[in-house]
Symmetry: D3
Subunit: 162 residues, 6 copies
């Protein structure tokens, strides 16, 4: 069974040494969601049909957060990301008053460690930005579940969520 | 019904003018969770009984993220936070193999806008840090649901999640 | 004649003491422009009529840069901005093949110093973002002239560009 | 005609994937200017002959901004810059009361994308810093025109402004 | 005897609540030093007599670090600094081959907590910058002792180092 | 005798061009110390035997500062660090009332320049964090001497402090 790898001999956190790892192309894809009320659903839809586009701001927030991951997550290695993308998808069931935005973040690098944290952080920041821009119309929004959908590249091989 | 407030007359995002609001004491409290497997549960428990304390790192990550909220969330106002705290609580049902960390973030300020986003961002960053430090032992962890539990202060008054 | 105020007795730069100044509402408005070619003009217009909105990204860049001004400009005081907005306006003369975006940044604070630098920095970052997103279609774009249009509040009084 | 490359299939901004590009040495050189009045001209000249050196602060601001470009410009790739330099040149015609500082920023990297934005951002930040440090003696200063003078390296080849 | 104040009931670090404290003018003054060899001493002296001014860069580094203190020191409160200054003084005894730069950082705010950490951080960053710029001529430089010389303002009253 | 290398032909600071240097594995190790009183010594010891662990926070501060070095030290090259670790060691002589924490920071990269500044900055930030968390029990703490213990890798070869 894997041991927690982020601790030194004094039992305190360290940034793990990856200098022996090769630079390879690595990708990761994460997902989260924002559950919201009908009013917010209508406002976002109306806005993005015109120009008041909540998702456009969330998109930028997610991309910038991906680049900032090593500043937000203490033991994360700084990485020169080679690509970041975020997609939005409505999951709506009006009959049951279910209004939900699904967010997908895809991150790519050519480096010595994976970009799982970058993808998860990008998705989280984009979701938080949606919360921020819509909270005047309902603070009961719920973010999540946030999870890794998959990753490719690196010595530990590919992973796909079951 | 409230309109989305973050858009200007051109239909593009703006940082809303709060110069007319008074500086009052405001608090917010947010919650999230990390669902994880038994191996990770044991490793975190073992670590925090000694010194390899995953939660200590997550705590720092959450507090620093609270201070960085206006850099992570584009339309958030910069605020001089007066206090930030994060608590962890195990929600474990071994019979059903349910292992979950609950995270509570409490943020306080004396300023012109609320700190809901700071509390939500702190909780999210702390949860992401737990994910990062434990992912070698299981990438299937799930973060969330992330939500606002309550807020006090400000013109819109107190809010408590139903 | 005013002396340069940012130097100490050793002749080196300092951040001027403003602790004696009162917190008052202050605004500043700055302007810049991006001169570009017809192809870029058409692409931006097409994009913003749909959703590929260059200005939406520039807007976010400008607002975040306003909040980061004290990190970008060494002797600038950190300020809790109370509002930031950015507007775009086309200045086009097709007969003379003149295609230009005008950018206006308006910043507001309640604090001890003015926000001229925040407005100028926001306008500059938004213009640079337009350059970045369109440079594949023509690197000969020109940014500027960048100038302060006016300011209100503070002991030195209001200023309006002649 | 080139298409705008920064948009995904949903028509929203993304950070373009450059993982297929090779790491090569790339340089870029940008130029801007600050037009100012005679009093400021004299003060800067006097200062730099002694030690109250406005340009020394602008120099540091420009170099740090070059390193921060990926934080300021949302779709810019983070790059490990290998060198940054900034030069200042007076363009003065006293007979016509024309006082102008020309700023040249040169940036170099060994990486998968060019450094045009880093050079433009460095020049802009240095110019804004001159504005900041001299604004007490005249707010009518004008920054620009800001432009790319040339670039070398990369698949699209060298570019030199006509 | 004072208890460590930065821990919550779970025994983990928190950012202490200062919302009950009044905004008053507070100052702090810190000192550090860099011990270096004769060659570096001559080079810095030669440079600052001309324009290659190591101290000018260290000055900017110290001022920017003061503004960034809450990002560098995890439990530090963000504060809107109202003034920062740094001074340099040579302490040289050529007969005994003793070459040392003394650095003094003075920070001022009008806020709810003191600026001791800002002054200490500014001095440290300025000293590290001197080390960086001179290390090609001798890596054996020594930084310190770094200490608080005094503070004024706040409920705990003034402090002056004995 | 080495010349100061960080200056351009105008005598102003530049970030030196390292594009001709090879990416090799490089390490650096730095040391600092915090001298403190008996009360603080007891409180830190008590805390780390339980969970109120001052060193755990200092550890995170040091690691994050290592990653931020190029933002704190103006002429430092940005580097993708591959590993960072910090160790603490008590140096106590109760008979002589001497209580001192020794801090050792070790940084590793695979890149074109060394990581001396990252190691020195990490040690400094960790020491400042100890000061911050304990200052309520004694502001007379002293940080330093801060020095480079050694480095490996790079064209200039290994260095070990005599």
């Amino acid at each position: 069974m894997s041991e927690l790898t982020h601790f030194n001999e004094q039992g305190r956190a360290k940034m793990v040494d990856v200098s022996g790892k090769n630079d390879t192309v690595r990708t990761a894809r994460a997902k989260t969601a924002v559950l919201l009320n009908e009013a917010i659903y209508q406002q976002i839809k109306d806005g993005s049909n015109k120009k008041g586009d909540v998702f456009a701001v969330a998109q930028v927030a997610g991309i910038m957060a991906a680049k900032n991951t090593a500043q937000i997550i203490p033991m994360c290695h700084p990485l020169a990301l080679s690509g970041v993308d975020i997609e939005f998808e409505w999951n709506v069931d009006e009959a049951n008053a279910h209004y939900e935005v699904l967010l997908y973040a895809t991150v790519k690098t050519k480096g010595p460690t994976g970009v799982e944290m970058e993808a998860l952080t990008a998705a989280s920041a984009a979701a938080l930005t949606i919360y921020d821009m819509c909270k005047a119309a309902g603070k009961e929004m719920v973010i999540g579940p946030t999870m890794l959908l998959g990753k490719t590249g690196g010595k530990s091989g590919d992973y796909e969520r079951a």
